[in-house]
Amino acid sequence: MDKVLCSVATKGRYFTTLPLVLSAIINQTKLPDKLIIFDDNDEPQDMRNEFLYQHFFNILNAKKIDWEWLYTHKKGQHHIHQAANSMGFDWVWRVDDDAIPETNVLQKLFNAIRDDAGAIGGAILTPPLQFEQFSPTGLLANIDSEPNIQWQNFQKAKEVEHLHCSFLYRAGIHDYNLGLSRVAHREETLFSYGLYQKGYKLLVIPNAITWHLKNPQGGIRSNAKEEMFKHDEQIYRNILGFSGQTIVVLNCGLGDHIVFSRLLLEIPNPVVFGCYPEIVPCRSIAEAQALFGDLDQWNIYKKMAQWNWTDSLENAFRKLYDCHSPIR
């Protein structure tokens, strides 16, 4: 059975919406295998001393849900999500600290898992409802011109190109972009679209409602500066500019380039950034750094370490660039 980690990143909401979120998670009809609360507060507290939280922890124990409370490094929620993404679970259910899932949400999302699914989301509703009558496409190209498809309780499951806020995703397939600023604007759009680009389906399903209260107090993105949003928006636009292409970044040695060069024809519509244009025709690594902010998601050595790799370097490149994905 696939193991599910529930990940909640929190800041400034110890005594407002976070308890509602934890209560909702504890009362799911399908329980996660583990719950991790990533505490990003400026002055983190030991919540074991708080009456309400003592009971939360006791109930988690009584229900045999493994849980951890982790203090984070204040780098932004993309770093937190990437940590959850890399913890060895099959699926991660990301839940915001002001987004309250109805009791059936994880069950519904989990039941919708299929072999080609990369992520599954439900409706993310903010009362009072404003978007009851619309028919969005869920295509990334329309992201600026239509409301998000998840802002309504739709009637039929639909495939989309990006997801929003809270969803269940296949872990360890695609990395969060750690080049974003601390505000991590567009992080979930970039992440979910990355799964889509790797050939996985993104699904939105009906009757899995999460109530997003949009708590004006606290939040991981509090104290954000305008330039952070601009910086992240630029990275997002840059990546969007390569949609339909496979971005390849060879920030590695000469030998690695030579090995990769034999695979180039297997990669659909590649655009290559690298260090040795005499081996693989490429644009510069400096340009990739400027465009995408962070190149770790393409670092073949980091990926092999993350995968506990024992097969060949050649096949590691194949896995990274999904050359023979059964779903492509």
Binding site: G253, G255, I258, R262, E278, M304, D311, L313
Partner: protein
């Protein structure tokens, strides 16, 4: 003619690369063939014919002309693989199952010498001359490779 590529890339901490074979002098003395060494400035010259700083095209040309080659785990073994010229790779701490090619003869003394983490810079791995096969074993495999390629 045999081509040798004796040295892996220098480490950033100026230490000895744990992939560098310790018995080149002894090995060269056992080979009764003309030997061309390839490498870069600053590397120890082991034979009279040391060609430094060759381009990728020049190295490919040399590979086309040579009978076979011997190298440590470096870019050179990948380059030879890319032009389908089999040779001998002398391994120690890096894993031939990951970084090698089955078309070559991969001489690893024992997997117990492999670095636990294969994906860090080699600066963090101590040098151990015991991790390498002896020159006589290399010559034995060189002879068998020469016999199969004739």
């Amino acid at each position: 003619m045999i081509v040798i590529h004796p040295f892996a890339k220098p480490l950033q901490n100026d230490g000895v690369n744990p992939k560098n074979y310790p018995y080149w002098q002894e090995l060269i003395a056992l080979i009764n063939e003309p030997i061309v060494q390839v490498g870069v400035d600053g590397e120890q010259q082991l034979v009279s014919d040391f060609r430094k700083g060759l381009s990728i095209q020049e190295l490919k040309q040399l590979l086309a002309e040579c009978q076979t080659w011997i190298a440590v785990d470096s870019f050179f073994q990948h380059l030879a693989w890319s032009v389908e010229k089999p040779g001998i790779v002398l391994w120690s701490v890096s894993d031939p199952n990951i970084f090698g090619h089955t078309e070559n003869i991969n001489l690893l003394k024992d997997r117990s010498y492999l670095a636990k983490n294969q994906f860090l810079w080699w600066d963090y791995t101590p040098y151990n001359s015991e991790a390498f096969v002896k020159p006589e074993e290399v010559v034995y495999h060189l002879t068998s490779l020469q016999n199969t390629t004739i």
